[in-house]
Amino acid sequence: MDFNDTKEQAIFRKKCRDWLEANATLKSESSTNSFSEDKSYLDTSREWQKKKFDAGWAMLHWPKEYGGIAATPIERIIWNSEEAKFDVPRGIYDIGLGMCGPVMMQYATEEQKQRYLPAMAEGKEIWCQLFSEPSAGSDVAGLRTKAEKKGDKWIINGQKVWTSGAHFSDFGILVVRHDPNLPKHKGMTFFFVDMKSPGIDIKPIKQITGGSNFNEVYFNDVEIPDSQRLGDVGDGWKVAITTLMNERLAVGDASGADVNEAFKWAKGQDDMGGKLIDNMAARESIADWYCEANGLKNTKLRTMSALSKGDTPGPEASITKIVSANKLQAIGNFGIDSADMAGMLVNENNEIDDFQSAWLGAPGLRIAGGTDEILRNIIAERVLGLPEDQRVDKDIPYKDIPSGK
């Protein structure tokens, strides 16, 4: 066991570091680049992506012909850990590069790859993902959006939901139902679509936090050329599931107030009857959260160790979200309660505002990218090898599956 780089890794890390120092500034208290969706942030994101692309850092694990440098997984980890130390824009390209890129890489024609992948890596074009539907959340395969073949085109009608960045995306990946008479998982087909196509209508969704990071996307007779089909007709689920796996791996640690913020706050909080940190109940909660936070951190380190040995990562991402989203909710609640009645007040105190955001945002994290319940099922079935739930939606035509109203 050791936390030192190998000689090669050290050299590579220095290379990353040198370039980053030359082209960006280290994070600090006054760091400005927190994720947002306004124009200015989009622009700085594009600039930074372009800069990285020109230097070969944009998608370093991609083959050279698409703008990468064919880096190893561990080199990619090294780059990410170094880039994370700098005050650079993040988030806009995560879905495109993390989910759409891989699926294009696997299923698009050579010509399409040449056309789309470099533009994606360079940041010229932003991509989004169109899977979930109002009646297909945890059960994504329950999706209804229709695709009808007309000549060499497909006509799409229906509604997608929970699409991040739909309004500033150029393209999207899309899974739809081409035949409701086939069994649920066999009647789907996968496409990529130009988000500027006529008939696409985008409405933002307001969340309980007040923010709007997601959209509803309506399809009214939207035309997609058959050439933009990814995988065979009927392979939609097979293609989608690989993407979903990437999402589950991408869904990282819940950002927001964590044990360090709770600890720091508890050391300062004092009602003249004593410091909160000396309250054994608060103390034990902080200990529990510290164990969870570091359990996740060290689990990631073990995953990297495995990666650097060439093994493939396990189901850590599922664990990470279950643990960190619930921890976030508990810590937010702890911080709010510690201010007693004044815990209600917004904009009085930055730390309390952070605890409130945690408390309001956590419920979404417990749901997005797989609810606590779905993730426990995944762990039980894929990791522990337990049987799947009794299924009533298999081997019968999709249209005959009970769906309420």
Partner: protein, 370 residues
């Protein structure tokens, strides 16, 4: 042996339920929150017209002269619909303070106007980002003149008067302030539940009247929140029950994997746990209601027990109601978050959960049950 409400009380409860339903109150709550109205004035006027602000006020002061049990059943119904009115501030706290501790003159002056709605009251105690204690109160009263600042005072804008917890040479005093007096300035403060407005009140050499004895203000305040905690617990039970009802309805009509999601054990057992938490809280609140209505020496422990269980129940049920609704539960459009927000407001008002747990055990130590 009867730990249940009387038929008359149940009838009053049913009347209240129908009233709030007819008024479409949950919609009004959303509008109040979204438009930052701080209060639904129209709903409040109707509640006053029904005489509910005078329920516990003796008939000699034009009230209905009923007991606290009637207040409990109303509280539960208001909790179910998150009524956006200053009922708890004005009735559970202000009115009780006047009723229990004020001089005959003040009672004569104030109580009848609470019945008619000419007077609406609230109570100001919090000053900083931590629990108020006898030691850390700094708002001063000197020869009846108040100087200082209270924050997070609920409903202060709608209120014409406040009871203010102040520090004087003789200790802690409760003092009555009219919001129209010189030196009073009231400003809105943003909060996580805007369906009930919260405010700061600045006092610059403000004239006031003593409530209770000089120096016994802290005891008075403690007995006031012992009482109010019982009524809050019924609001919390109402909110918890409404959250469970929403979750149940959704779990029955929402399908996934070709089944009602309510047929999956993960959801069934979650909702069963909600039901258990509500049942425990309800039973403890019934007992506390009895203790309140009979002025039992059990009240401090009984109210803390009701308060702790009801706070846990409402927070748990409103939280897991969102989870049961999945993505929809996280949208502004669905009502789940209104209950989640209110559960937090009610858990903080009167003091946080851990303070009430501590208070419960302190009560046990005093009553040494062993």
């Amino acid at each position: 042996m009867n730990l249940d409400f009387s038929d008359d009380q149940k009838y009053l409860k049913e009347e209240a339920r129908k009233f709030f339903e007819k008024e479409n109150t949950l919609k009004a709550t959303r509008k109040t929150l979204e438009d930052k109205l701080f209060i639904d004035q129209d709903l409040w006027n109707k509640v006053v017209a029904l005489g509910w602000t005078g329920i516990t006020i003796p008939e000699e002061y034009d009230g209905l002269g009923l007991g606290h049990l009637e207040l409990c059943v109303l509280a539960e119904e208001m909790g179910k619909v998150l009524a956006p009115i200053p009922f708890s501030s004005s009735v559970y706290l202000f009115t009780e303070a006047i009723n229990k501790f004020a001089s005959e003159d003040i009672k004569k002056e104030i109580l009848p106007k609470l019945v008619t709605g000419e007077i609406v009251g609230t109570l100001g105690v919090t000053e900083d980002l931590h629990a108020p204690t006898e030691e850390n109160i700094s708002t001063s009263s000197n020869k009846g003149r108040i100087n200082g600042k209270k924050i997070a005072v609920p409903d202060a804008k709608a209120a014409t008067h406040s009871i203010v917890v102040t520090k004087s040479s003789s200790g802690i005093d409760l003092r009555l302030v009219c919001h129209e007096s010189d030196g009073v300035s009231i400003n809105h403060m943003d909060s996580i539940d805007e369906s009930r407005g919260h405010f700061s009140i600045d006092f610059k050499d403000v004239d006031s009247e003593l409530i209770g004895e000089e120096g016994n203000g802290w005891e008075c305040y403690q007995s006031l929140i012992d009482q109010a905690a019982v009524l809050f617990s019924f609001e919390q039970i109402g909110g918890a029950q409404a959250s469970l009802d929403m979750a149940l309805e959704y779990a029955k009509e929402r399908y996934a994997f070709g089944r009602q999601i309510g047929s999956f054990q993960a959801i069934k057992h979650k909702l069963a746990d909600m039901y258990v938490s509500i049942t425990l809280a309800k039973s403890n609140s019934y007992y506390a209601a009895w203790a309140l209505s009979t002025n039992s020496s059990d009240l401090p422990v009984a109210s803390a027990t009701a308060r702790v269980s009801a706070t846990k129940a409402f927070q748990f049920c409103s939280k897991e109601n969102i989870q049961t609704h999945g993505g929809n539960g996280f949208t502004w459009e669905y009502d789940c978050h209104l209950f989640y927000r209110r559960s937090k407001l009610l858990s903080l008002n009167l003091g946080s959960l851990s303070n009430w747990k501590n208070r419960l055990v302190t009560g046990l130590e005093k009553s040494n049950i062993n």
